[in-house]
Structures are given as C-alpha cells and as structure tokens.
Symmetry: C2
Subunit: 133 residues, 2 copies
DNA sequence: TGCATGATTGCACTATAGTGCAAGTGTTGT
DNA sequence: ACAACACTTGCACTATAGTGCAATCATGCA
C-alpha cells in the first residue's frame, strides 16, 4: 500500500535530514531493496533511529515496505515520474565529505552476507565499523 | 555574491516550506526576477514573512539578490547543474489545490504595473486580493 | 511454549523553525 | 531636512522535529 503525498513540500521535508538523505541516496545508487539491519550496518546508526526515519520516508511516499518473516524490506517508490526525477537530482548531489561513498562501500560488503538474495544475519555493526564512524 | 551550500540536505530544507516552495515555483515557471513587493502581491503574504523566507533561500544558494534603489530583485541561481535539475522537478510537482496557478496569475497581472521592465509601485495587496486568499 | 531477535514505539528532553508585532535601515523625492 | 516607502530584523511565542533510552511487538526456532 502506497501513501500518496498531498503536500508537495512534504517530499522535500522528507529529504531535509542528513540521515534520510543517506538512506535515499544509498537506495538510489544501488537500486536494491534492503532491510533495516542492513541499513544499520551500512550507515552505522542505531536501529531505532533508522526505523523512525524509514517511517517518515514511507509516509512521504518515497519508500514502500514489505515484511518477510522477521525482516522488513524497503524499496524506493519511483512513481509518479517526478519522484524518479527527484532521485536523479539526489544522485547528482556532491559528496564532499565522502559520506555516501563510505555508506555505499559498507552496504556492498554487507550484501555479501546474504543467502539466496535475502538477509539472514541481523545487525553486525561492529564488523562494519570504520575509522570514519 | 553567491553562498555555496555545503550540506546537501540544506537544499531540501530550503524547499521544505510551503511559502518558500511557492516562491521558487513561481520563479521557475516565469523565469523572471522580481522584487519583494511583487511577491507580496502575488503570494498575498506579509512582506516581513517573505523577506525572511527569501533570506533563507538566499543562504541555501537558491536565490541571488540585487539591490536597485529601493527595490531588491531576486532571481534563481541555476548553477551547479543539479539545481537546474531540481527546479525541473519542482515544476513537475502537482498543483492539486491550485495554489501555484493562482500565484502565477496574480504575478502576471502584477508585472503589468512595471514600467521599462522595473517595478515602480510598491505593495498593492488589496488590488490583487482574490476570494481564494 | 518459551526464548532470541528484527523491528517498532512511548516517553522525556532539547533544539530548531515559523510567525506576528513593532522597531529599525536605507533610499527616493519633495 | 523631512516624509514616504521598500525592505529587514530583534523579540517573544508556539509548534514541530530529532534523539536516546527502554519497553514492546512480532516472528522463527528450539
């Protein structure tokens, strides 16, 4: 079920937070769906924090979520067309501090732990910790 | 002088407000530069309110402002390229409540009061008031 | 059935943002 | 010099957003 955004500014409000922008940008670049624990390991942020930001993104209509057993997979919503256009803009943003590059690297490493394309392991924060945080 | 935005989320923060989105959208559609009093008449909002929102947009790097006598003209900043891309997205947003259409109509009417392409008259709010507000 | 675990949420706290009023700044024209 | 006017801003107030802790929900497995 997808929640339609009524107020246009809600879309920008959803992206007006560093953590949420990291989430969206990671998904824009990879295109993959991912569960919360994979995001926790990739962004190195506590699960309750990401869970709340995911909810906000869902309510803004940018993400759709689907439960599979214990795991909840989140993916980008790409319609209406202006959302796809928005994601292209997000992808074009500068990454002066290298945050998104670091997130992406951890995410790619984390994907290696999947089996049959599904997450099996839960939070492994320590294993993916880097000096950058 | 243009202020460079350091944090990408600041751009979205700047657009995460209905009034500021109305300002940007009006400028995206028309492409014109405009002074504060023209915006006051177009958006039917008090000048102190718009003045503050214009400042925020300026600090975010979306607008540049230039003083000409008593009047201050504001125009869109279109570089770097992702800003132009962002404006295209803004233009593609739905206008379910007809707000932007009404703003645009008042703005076009207001432009008729210019002489030699420059504003001459100051705030005329009452003259542009519509039943919609 | 009970436990481990992925995910969510209630609560309290803090910081920030938006607003209206009123005062102030700077420029034009008389 | 003075008044008018376009525009800005200090102040107080209110509402909202983000965060951490801890409790809770929900599912799979022994």
């Amino acid at each position: 079920m997808q929640i339609i955004t009524i107020q246009p500014e809600a879309i920008f409000q959803a992206l007006a937070d560093e953590t949420r922008l990291r989430i969206i940008r990671l998904k824009v670049v990879t295109g993959d769906e991912s569960c919360l624990c994979e995001l926790v390991d990739s962004l190195q942020e506590p699960s309750y924090k990401l869970s709340r930001h995911l909810k906000i993104l869902r309510q803004a209509g940018l993400l759709s979520s689907q439960k599979e057993g214990r795991w909840v997979y989140h993916r980008l919503v790409t319609t209406p067309a202006y959302l796809a256009q928005l994601y292209a803009t997000v992808q074009a943003l500068p990454d002066s501090k290298g945050i998104y590059r670091a997130d992406l690297k951890r995410f790619r490493d984390r994907l290696c732990l999947r089996e049959d394309g599904r997450c099996q392991v839960g939070i492994q924060s320590e294993a993916f910790k880097t000096e950058a945080g």
